[in-house]
Structures are given as C-alpha cells and as structure tokens.
Amino acid sequence: MIRHHPENNLLLEYAAGSLPWALSLVVAAHVQLCPQCRSQYQTMNRVGGSLLQDVEPQPLPADALQRLMGRIASAEQGAEQEAITAKAAATKNADPLFARLPRVIRKLVDGNEPLKWKRVSPALRMSRLHTGQERYEVAFHRIHSGGKVAEHDHRGREITLVLYGSFSDKDGVYGEGDFLVREPGEIHRPIATQDQECLCFSVVEAPVTITGPLGWLINPFLSFRPG
C-alpha cells in the first residue's frame, strides 16, 4: 500500500501545468501507480474545466473558424494520420526490478540509451536518464539488499519515487509507489530492506553533499549532471 503521496500543492501545480518537466515526470509516475492521487488529479482537472467554463470569453479574429476548418480539411486529405509508430516495446531489461514500471518511466527507459550503471558507493549504483531539460538531474538509484547509503544532506530538493523493494531512514519505511520529498539541508541515510534490492527513480535539483567524516574525500554525489 502506498503511504507517502505528493502534497496537494505539488499535485495542483502538476494539474495546472506549471510544474517543471522533470518534477512533472516523477509526479506523473506516482499518479500512474496511485489510484488515490489519480482521483485527486481528476478533481484538479475538473477545477481547470470549471475555470474554463466560467472565464470571460474573448472575441476571435473573423477568419478563425475558417482557418481551422481549412487546416482540418487539408490534414484529412493528406491523411495526416499519425503513423502510430508502435515502438516495439524494446525492453532491453529483463531485470525483475524493471518488470512493473509505471508507463511513463517504461517509455523513458525505452527511449533512452541502454542503462549504464555507475557505482556511487559499495551499496549504491545509479544510472542517469536524459529527459530533455536542464534544471534537474534525473536518475535511477539502486541499493543492494540491506545496503546502507552514506549519510548525505541535500543542497537542493530531491524527489524520490520507490519503484521496487523498500528502504528506510530515520523518518520511516518507504515501499513501492511511495513518493518522498527531501528539502535542502535535510540529512538522511537510506538503508535498503534486508531481503531485496531497492530501485528508486529520483529527480534532484542541485548536488547533494556527503556530510560524514571524510565526506569531502569520498563525495560520490558531487558530479551533478542535469538532463
């Protein structure tokens, strides 16, 4: 059962279309997994629909309809039907961790180069993803069964969606579908559950820093690459 959800403010920014792309990506993935947030999202769409219905109408140029019907006619003649490029679900990954991804993440994986895992620390590996934007780093993180990630704080906001397995930190236990926001300055030390590996999707605003002794020496989080 999903216990951690995006707050309503974030969901509303998503539904209103004002949330940056990378953050919208992780909210969308959660919404696809979570019936409760899906229904919230629908309510927020209805707010949009009601605002549209009640807005003060503005006159259009006299030829607006004609222009549109012209475009529709020529589109249909040229059979501008989208060649539905049913991309053969190029699932390059038979890994069970990736068996039940939300649709949007599945598509992102299929549209990216094959995942390249980089060892961040003994317990943690990451693989960056291209999403066509420049403000956030978007990546998968996987933690070994029982693996402990070095204590780190967040210089920028980090949003994590658990996709497989679970992990815990001092604040709680997070399982599949759970959505967590770590604000800048919060320090945490995630530990994966003993019996299975944990896969997370994360969107980070700015680099995180290791805070423990020698952190400066082994700071594997330093290389921040948005995309």
Binding site: N9, S24, M44, R67, T131
Partner: protein, 192 residues
Amino acid sequence: MQAPESRDDDWSELLTLVGAQRDRAAFERLFHHFAPLIKGFHHSRNAQAFSAEAADELVQEVMFRVWRKAPSFDARKASASTWIYTVMRNCRIDMLRRNSRRQHEDGGVDVEDLWDEAPDNQPLLFLQQKRNEQDIAAGLRALPAEQSHVLEKAYMEGKSHSEISAELGLPLGTVKSRVRLALKKLQAILGR
C-alpha cells in the same frame, strides 16, 4: 438565465458526436462556444499569460487537437469542459516546451505520457460524475476571492506557487495554504 454547468451535458453530447461521426456542424458549435473561452483563459482582463496573437494561435492548435482527439473523448470519465481543459493544458505545455527542450535527448517522452487526458478512475457512474462537475463549479464561485485568485493564477497564468508568492508579495506558505484551503472546501463539497 445562464446556467453554464447544466449546459455542459449538451457540450459533452456534441463532442461525442464529433468523435463518433466526425460531425462538422457539431464541431462548429463547439468551436463557437469553447474557442472564445480558450482565448479568454489565456488573454483577458484577468489573465495576461499570452498576447492576443499568441492566444489566437493557441486556440487554433487546441481546437485542431480537439477535432483529432475527439474519438477518444469518453463522457463517462469527464465533461467536455474538463476534457478540453486537459487538451488545452497539454497543448500549452507542448508549445512552451518546444522552445526549450533538447529534442534529441528527451528520452522520447511526450506531453501526453505525463498528463493523461482521460485518466482511468474508479468506475464512476455518469450521474455521480455530472454532479461532481456542477458542485465544483458552484464551489469555485463560492470561494473567498483571495483563494480563487490564487487558483486562477496557477491555472490560467500557469504560475508556480513560488512565482505567485513573488508576484503578490506573499510568503510562499500563505500561497500554499490558500491553495490547500480552497481544495479542502471543494473536496468537502464532493464528499457530502
């Protein structure tokens, strides 16, 4: 007397006709009703997110998509105005994104992969659905001005909470709590 929320049923029927029979007369009626609203949503006394010209272009693109996508409209899931809202929002995101995205490195994910136009919901009875729509519209009109103003800025001007807080000179926490209060009221109405 104007009763826009009850007329929404008629628009949903027209939109269903457009989808099922490619009925141009029905589409033209939808256009006459919704196109000036789509423009007003982005450019009017209250909303200045777009110039008049840009809003006219947006109207063309949104209504073109409404025609193309009408076959996927399902009146059991959403009213015409809610569905057109989602098409319009996605279209706006597309237009804004086109200027900034790095086309070859976007992982092949489109706006519609992120914002479902017809999210699957728990099966809803049509009656229930219609009541929800009417209640939300009435609830919105009953909100205190400071709350509806913040919702309008978010939806119509596409502003984030922090942009709204900067613009109105309010602490971010105040903007957030106004949004939450407004939602709570709307949800209380739905939960009755």
